[in-house]
């Protein structure tokens, strides 16, 4: 008897529920907004649809977006990392000094990646071994890493990069498809698989929803968080390679203030700041949305300060909406 009941319920439920829950999901709302902004942009500026201008726009968000992906995991496990922009700076500095002594791309990039990964590991170790809240640790390391770059660089800029280094930030892998944008897409697919399709992803959500129960279920919560912070550090160094290559130099102010942009992408993407929920698909759509808004406003010559006002207002509106949404969904459910 029970067997029959169970299986029949199952199929019925999926048929009945899948449509409305998909329609009202955060991701589809974001997607609709993105499409809307896309059309507004088309109307606002005749240059918007130009392939080169679209392609250019991707360079402005790809580096940040690459960091937003691992940062989504950090926020899902109820932590935060605001030292990301400073990790870029320190990692870029390491590359700059390496470029002073060698022309080897391998050595230059490795130096950046090692430093970035170590920065992430330091954050992770302080948080998991000493049990200091992530916000406190990363506020500290944000100043620490940035401070070190100021001391090492003073007011000089390191720009002894070899010619070939410029590919990472300026090269194209196909017509109109920059290396940066292509990398972002590949990394996004990898993170989608990691978070939604692997044991690691499931544990990430388990920790985010109930760290105690996750620990009681035999999950090594500290190690898991450490790995996530190391990933953030590593992908900061990837972003650092691209940014440094695009700018052609390292200055102590490199990527200053990026952390808030990156966190905005994650939160806008529907990752709950309280942890436990959010998807990579959402983050990717949010990245495109922010990219479109930025490039649209840029094309109609909106000044930078007004742009940040608009982004801020958009974030607040969009974050206020889930509550409204939830009510709508409940109504439909009933």
């Amino acid at each position: 008897m029970e067997k029959i009941n169970n299986s029949s319920f199952e199929t019925k439920d999926i048929e009945k529920k899948s449509l409305p829950s998909w329609v009202f999901s955060w991701e589809s709302f974001l997607l609709a907004t993105t499409v809307l902004v896309f059309f507004i942009n088309c109307l606002a500026s005749p240059y918007f649809l130009d392939p080169w201008s679209l392609s250019d726009a991707t360079f402005n968000f790809s580096e940040k977006a690459i960091i937003a992906l691992p940062l989504a995991l950090v926020i899902i496990v109820r932590d935060i990392d605001i030292s990301v922009a400073s990790i870029i700076a320190l990692s870029s500095t390491a590359m700059g000094f390496t470029a002073e002594v060698t022309d080897s791309l391998f050595l230059i990039c490795s130096a950046g990646m090692i430093v970035g990964t170590l920065c992430g590991a330091l954050n992770g170790l302080l948080i998991t071994r000493l049990n200091i809240p992530a916000i406190v640790v990363t506020i500290g390391t944000m100043s620490l890493f940035r401070g070190i770059t100021y001391i090492l660089l003073g007011d000089q800029a390191l720009k002894n990069y070899p010619e070939s280094f410029s590919f990472f930030g300026q090269g194209y892998v196909a017509p109109f498809i920059g290396f940066e944008f292509a990398s972002f897409l590949v990394i996004a697919v990898l993170f989608y698989i990691l978070l939604q399709k692997t044991n690691f992803g499931r544990r990430t959500y388990a920790i985010g929803n109930n760290p105690t129960a996750a620990y009681y279920s035999g999950i090594n919560v500290a190690k898991h968080k450490l790995i996530i912070f190391i990933m953030v550090g590593f992908f900061c160094s990837i972003a650092a390679i691209m940014l440094t290559s695009r700018l052609g130099s390292t200055r102590p102010t490199i990527a200053l203030g990026w952390e808030l942009n990156i966190i905005t992408m994650v939160v806008l993407g529907g990752v709950s700041i309280l942890g436990g929920s959010g998807t990579i698909v959402g983050v990717v759509i949010a990245v495109f949305l922010m990219g479109l808004v930025n490039s649209g406003l840029g094309l109609i010559n909106v000044p930078g300060i007004v742009m940040s006002i608009i982004i801020g207002a958009m974030l607040i509106c969009v974050i206020a909406l889930p509550g409204v949404f939830q009510r709508l969904r409940n109504k439909v459910g009933n």
Binding site: E10, R202, N210, T212, A213, Y216, S217
Partner: protein, 502 residues
Amino acid sequence: MSEVTPIFSLLNISKHFPGVKALDKVQLDLYPGEVTALVGENGAGKSTLVKVMTGIYQPTEGELYLDGKPVNIATPEDAHHNGITAIHQETVLFDELSVMENIFAGHYLQLPSGRLDWKQMEQETIRILSEIEAPLAPKKLLKELSIGQRHMVAIARALSFDARVVILDEPTAALSHREIEEFYAIVYRLQKKGCAILFISHKFDEIYSIADRFTVFRDGCYIGEGKIAEVEEKELVSMMVGRSIDTAFPKTEVDIGDCIIEVKDFCHPTEFDAINFKLHQGEILGFYGLVGAGRTEVMQSLFGVSNNASGQIIVNNKELAIKSPSDAIKAGIVYVPEERQAQGTVLEFPIYQNISLPQLDKLNPKGFLNTATEYSLADKYAKRLKVKAPNWNEKVENLSGGNQQKVVIGKWLATEPKIIILDEPTKGIDIGSKAAVHEFMSELTEQGLAVIMVSSELPEIMGMADRIIVMREGLMVNEFERAQFSAEQLVSAATGMTGELQ
């Protein structure tokens, strides 16, 4: 006897939570100068009712009447204004403040200038304390007081509000024998002042010594009420459980096998000391004691949750170092925690993901999720435990407490453990699920598992265990074989009255 009108009555009160009817059209009357005992098993809805009375929950339906007039209690503040106060098992007071400050917190007396009138408050404190004959210094800090004395402060605080309805929610659970006597005296004085008192307790001797009336709830429903003097304990019990108590425990006789785990000199710097026991295949070992006796701490250390305990744990003749739950799980030891929602389940996850969580690596050795394998594992165990849900995709938060507990047990059975530790396995779950859990424990022992059961419910532990270890203040004080079980001896060992009795 003239019929007095109740000060406070509740009529047709229901409270629904997602998936659970915590209260279903219950009623309750409280009379001036009388103590009404609210009787029911864990999960009968008593605490929910208290929360409705004190404004913490809003009832889904039903009316509340104060002095015969309908009243709306939307917030805890409303409850205070209407003279309704609750005193809980663990009173919520401020450790770092003085007795006087605790009594007047939130309604300080002020001088016309707006400054606090400490003198007046001190006098009032002395007056109130002398009224209940509680000799406490007004300026003493709360953290220096015993639990019994804290209760007195809580009651004094209630009186400072001119409380007319006083709810005592298992107030004696953590009190010593002498403190209980003092407590009765205070309750008697409240009664003489004309307060209506709701008394919630599991202990029948207490109910019979101080209550005038009783009301019985079962599984969130109103069962009946009457005068204590006119009811026998047996009737009360059968109203509570809905059946005679002897049939409640489906214990099967199992041959006890080899020693499977031995714990030697298990010590913890603050929580427990010198714990030694052996556990055999097919055996149910009970741990009885008062709340705070250190039982949960022993079990959590055994499971590796806190790893500052020292001592030897020998499983199948091999000494093991258990530093984390994952070590314990590998050794075949699993733990069903008392705090089901906080520690046992990921409420937001569907049933099948909860069941597969501890063994994802075993199920998916390559690291990629395979929903079909997970689902079939969940199907096997959720069916075996008769979890009631439309399908295993249902989120655990939508299940009733009993079914949530079944999911937790299922999760651990799926790891095929050798030893299962159940910490208060039936706390707060409905009778049906309770029986299912008990039946299941028997089934497990038949299959050669060893079970450790921590329970504070005497009938349960006496009904199910083969052996009972009694703990008090972090120490093992006594051990009883099944043949020697007697409620009196267990209780006196747990409360430390052994010496006085003999």
